[in-house]
Amino acid sequence: MPQEMVFEKVVTILKPFVKAPDALAKVGMETTILGELKVNSARLVDVVLEIEDAFDIEVTDTEADKVSTVGDAVKLVMAKAKA
């Protein structure tokens, strides 16, 4: 799957949890999920579950802990999908 498609899909998953619509309007690979999109940190668990389901991958807790930006999530999915 091309990176643009993965990006779009990740943003779609994040969208219901975003509390900063302005940041979402100009979201990019460098946008931080907690800091800029203001996603409640407790909901990261749900975001990871939805990413696992959407891309048919498994994400370990250690891998999830390293995700800070939207780009981190996209790259993790790309790497996992290739493996």
Binding site: P16, V45, D46
Partner: protein, 427 residues
């Protein structure tokens, strides 16, 4: 003014009932005797003996007007009902919403109870996943949906409440108890405003235990509107209901300073228990406890029995209805022919368990505010033990323009009682 003398009034109403949403529509539904009891296929599929119940309609669309996708993601129907009723009560009281980046409203809290709580979430999501060894797939929202205080906690966040936020639980007395506790808290000067009432979901998992106890009416699956029959000779068990009723209680001083509409004044309230003694048990009330509760509320209210124009009873349609009416008569020291008008809101909406007291307090306040007593449906065949009270039990709505005082009581499993007295506000 001494804090003990602080007067408490009702300045906002929120209700999501099986027969209406919103105070104005609910008042209309009560006035016209609209039933909210319907047949539900999912109960038939689950082989319930009682296949009718009261479930608020149109919530799927309604909830999206009140709550964001993320909020709904972490809410079961019990929480959604509480949220809609609480937001409505807040708005009805003329209060502006607290901005997300502002300080909370330190002077306003919430007592919103529930009887059963998030058992549907446990049965549908938590239990199956845990049993399948999939704890890691539960997501982040289980605790907030199954913790007993889930409904009030969500309301506290939605409205930015900074005073005490808690969920009480005393079975069918829950909503009434919440109103009384909130009244006392404001009276003590510990809060200026309290949202108070109860909520209950509609899941088959909430209702199944009652069906198994054979305390639900199984004889009217083909005639839902006739199924809830309090005070009748043919009463054969209650009909389960759901929804939420929330009142905004406020110190009179605060309400006057805000120049807002005052629906009614809370004059007094009393909560007690029969201790499973003297005929009381887990499922039956100690009649002496019931009488003491009513008398405690009336004494605190400082009204004479003759001043009470109507009783919105607990009256569920079990064997206890005639005993309850007799207890009212003894507690008030009034013979049957001089009793206030007696009626049951459950005849129209069923028994909403932990939400019942909240919804029925809203009904009582609306009756007082608009000057009517709604008809108690389905008791044309009045229970023979109540023959002497026949003239005091309206079958159709009656206009009572001089209705000044109404008493509302709830009696719950566990032998627990609550009674609150409302009066039309006067300077």
């Amino acid at each position: 003014m001494q804090s003990a003398e602080r007067r408490v009034v009702v300045t906002g109403l929120g209700v999501l009932a099986p027969n209406a949403h919103g105070a104005a529509a609910f008042a209309g539904a009560l006035r016209e005797g609209k039933s909210g009891i319907r047949h539900h296929a999912h109960l038939a599929e689950a082989k319930f003996a009682c296949q009718v119940g009261g479930i608020p309609e149109g919530v799927e669309a309604l909830q999206k007007r009140y709550l964001t996708e993320e909020e709904l993601f972490a809410m079961n129907p019990n929480m959604v009902y509480a949220a809609i009723a609480a937001i409505d009560a807040w708005t009805d009281a003329g209060l502006p919403r607290v901005a997300a980046d502002a300080e909370p409203d330190w002077d306003t809290g919430a007592f919103i109870g529930t009887g059963i709580g998030g058992i549907d979430t446990i049965a549908e999501k938590l239990g199956p996943k845990v049993d399948q060894g999939k704890v890691g797939r539960l997501g982040s929202t289980m605790v907030e949906q199954i913790m007993s205080s889930g409904n009030s906690a969500r309301v506290g966040g939605l409205l930015g409440l900074g005073n005490q936020v808690s969920t009480n639980s005393s079975a069918c007395n829950t909503g009434t108890e919440a109103v009384i506790d909130a009244f006392l808290r404001i009276r003590e000067g510990r809060a200026l405003r309290m949202l108070a009432g109860g909520s209950e979901g509609h899941s088959k998992y909430i209702w199944a235990g009652f069906d198994a106890m054979k305390v639900l009416n199984r004889a009217k699956n083909d005639a839902p509107a006739e199924a809830s029959r309090p005070l009748s000779a043919s009463a054969a068990g209650f009909i389960p209901g759901s929804g939420a009723g929330v009142l905004m209680l406020e110190s009179l001083e605060c309400a006057l300073s805000r120049k807002v509409r005052i629906y009614a004044e809370v004059l007094g309230g009393f909560v007690n228990s029969g201790g499973h003694r003297m005929g009381g048990s887990m499922t039956a009330p100690n009649a002496t406890g019931v009488r003491r509760c009513i008398q405690g509320a009336v004494a605190m209210a400082g009204v004479r029995s003759e001043e009470i124009g109507a009783i919105n009873g607990h009256l569920t349609a079990t064997f206890a209805d005639p005993h309850e009416v007799e207890s009212w008569s003894k507690a008030l020291g009034l013979p049957p022919d001089r009793m206030p008008l007696i009626h049951s809101t459950k005849s129209l909406i069923g028994h909403a368990l932990g939400a019942a007291g909240g919804i029925e307090c809203v009904a009582s306040v609306l009756e007082l505010h608009h000057g009517f007593v709604h008809g108690s449906a389905n008791c044309e065949d009045l229970h023979p033990a109540l023959a002497a009270y026949a003239d005091r039990i309206p079958h159709r709505t009656v206009e009572v323009k001089d209705l000044r005082v109404i008493a509302k009581a709830s009696f719950g499993f566990g032998d627990v009682n609550g009674c609150v007295v409302f009066r039309k506000y006067a300077d």
